[in-house]
């Protein structure tokens, strides 16, 4: 990311009023259009003021992009070869007309379903945080969500409902949906309970595809990631996220319960503390 202004301090990317920037550019009055510049007087202390204490919840912002568009191109032939093997292994004839280009199509489709690995929240959100003196609930509901179960590589789909109570700062509405996309277009699974750190991604080395593992995600975790991302971006008074999804691994195979749905929710801030706020949110998303 290139910045036109020289930075006074290379901060290593600390969070400053919701603007996350690798070069640690601070919002200054008359600065490069950081929306929070005028509000910084009333804003909470930037974490820079607390030396050295990394807050674990901040890590969701540090989403390394583990895959780039170039990576996609280079992995395509091996993905396609793997799919051809799968077709043969299933007893199909990969040479028949309907299946001729299937390995490539399936490989590209799978890369699309995991495109969350190519994106970072920073890129999506940087410009769309606005100062508004609005402190009533904002809800975006019925956001269609599609993910892949990491256990069976079978789709999960459902709806996400997001509500938040702004604290002087609001987010462009489509950015909520984009946050959902980034986190959902990945392999979702069960919480691992441990975090293993692997070497940092290196795009030059052949085993470039190493990933720093945060606890792997399942619907519960996806819900939390979305809530935490919004919290860190906006520092709102509260955030509520509800996801209602159908897991094809339960519907198409295994127990084969056609109508089952899984519902998870995360409530942060005033949504957690105040039952009336929570009730209002839940009632509004039902209607």
């Amino acid at each position: 990311m290139e910045h036109s202004e020289p930075t006074e301090q290379a901060d290593g990317g600390s969070a400053l009023n919701g603007h996350f920037d690798r070069t640690g550019k601070r919002p200054v009055p008359g600065g490069s259009g950081c929306a929070s510049a005028a509000a910084s007087a009333g804003a909470p202390q930037p974490p820079r003021a607390e030396p050295g204490a990394p807050r674990p919840v901040m890590e969701s912002w540090r989403e390394e992009r583990t895959r780039s568009v170039e990576d996609n191109q280079t992995s395509l032939p091996s993905l396609a070869a793997a799919y051809t093997t799968i077709l043969r292994g299933l007893g199909e004839d990969p040479q028949r007309q309907g299946l001729l280009k299937t390995p490539w199509r399936a490989a590209t489709a799978m890369q699309f379903f995991t495109k969350g690995y190519q994106e970072k929240i920073i890129d999506v959100l940087n410009d769309a945080i606005f100062d508004e003196d609005h402190d009533e609930m904002v809800i975006v509901k019925d956001i269609d969500m599609f993910s892949m179960c990491e256990h069976h590589l079978v789709p999960i789909f459902g709806r996400v409902h997001i509500g938040y109570l702004p604290n002087k700062r609001v987010l462009g509405l489509s950015k909520l949906a984009r946050i959902v996309e980034i986190y959902s277009r990945r392999l979702q699974g069960t919480p691992s309970g441990r975090r293993s750190k692997v070497s940092a991604p290196c795009h030059l080395c052949p085993t470039r595809l190493r990933l720093r593992v945060r606890a792997s995600t399942v619907q519960e975790r996806l819900t939390k990631q979305i809530a935490v991302a919004i919290t860190e971006a906006l520092k709102p008074t509260g955030v509520g996220v509800v996801i209602e999804a159908t897991h094809m691994c339960m519907v198409m195979r295994g127990v084969q319960k056609m109508n089952s749905k899984t519902v998870t929710s995360t409530m942060l801030g005033v949504f957690r503390e105040d039952p009336k706020t929570r009730d209002e949110f839940l009632a509004l998303i039902r209607s």
Binding site: R88, D144, H151, H152, L187, R210, L211
Partner: protein
């Protein structure tokens, strides 16, 4: 019905497989094309020995997607995904004869029989992504009726394969037709294709409807209309 090999060979892929000694598991393509119509292109007991190759393929897919195949959630995923895929294509094991042999009964019934809202799940053969929906089947018996669940089982045989919705509809209709020789068969499928919903054009609410009408359903519009209205009613 299913396309036969048109002679094009994908050289890179062939080479990959030659070099990776997967040859032992490659199906003889001529045989499988023949079998698709009347037999099975996959034996159930062969599934076990095919599993390692499928697992290896899935492990390589996970790596190439940028995931860490060693993390806890993904450790056994290649095996699970391989088994899941085998389950989702288990229709290749089965033939109509096996399913139907004992459940055809002589009844002097010549009115329409409809079994509707049969949930169907299949895999799109172009993207290997599910499509699912409902099947409505109607037939007019000609002295022979079939056990009702057998209609659903016929749907299962043909749907648990790599399919195209049009072909699935036709295979179900022709399968019933050949087994029972009824006066007419009608099959309607309404399905949602994840390949259109999750990717590509991303149209959430789109549904694809296909139908096959054979016998009197094809010839007589009134019969067809009766079937369509009975299968639509709530």
């Amino acid at each position: 019905m299913n396309g036969h090999s048109n002679g094009k060979v994908n050289d890179t892929v062939e080479e990959f497989h030659r070099n990776n000694s997967f040859n032992g598991l490659v199906i003889d393509t001529k045989k499988s094309a023949e079998h698709r119509q009347h037999g099975t292109s996959r034996e159930e007991d062969a599934d076990e020995c095919r599993l390692p190759a499928l697992e290896a393929a899935y492990a390589s897919i996970l790596r190439e997607l940028g995931e860490d195949a060693g993390r806890q959630g993904l450790l056994r995923t290649p095996l699970r995904a391989a088994k899941a895929m085998q389950f989702l294509t288990k229709g290749y094991h089965e033939t109509i004869e096996d399913i139907l042999n004992n459940a055809i009964f002589d009844e002097d019934h010549d009115e329409m029989v409809i079994v509707k809202n049969i949930d169907v799940f299949s895999l799109c053969e172009h993207h290997l992504v599910p499509f699912f929906g409902k099947v409505h089947i109607g037939y007019i018996p000609n002295k022979k009726v079939v056990g009702l669940s057998k209609l659903a089982r016929i749907v299962e045989i043909f749907s648990r394969r790599l399919q195209v919705q049009e072909r699935l509809t036709k295979q179900i209709a022709v399968g019933i037709s050949q087994a029972l020789e009824p006066k007419g068969v009608a099959v309607v499928i309404e399905a949602a294709h994840m390949c259109m919903i999750m990717r590509g054009v991303q149209k959430m609410n789109s549904r694809t409807v296909t139908s096959t009408m054979l016998g009197v359903y094809l010839e007589d519009p009134k019969t067809r209309e009766e079937f369509l209205s009975l299968s639509k009613s709530a």
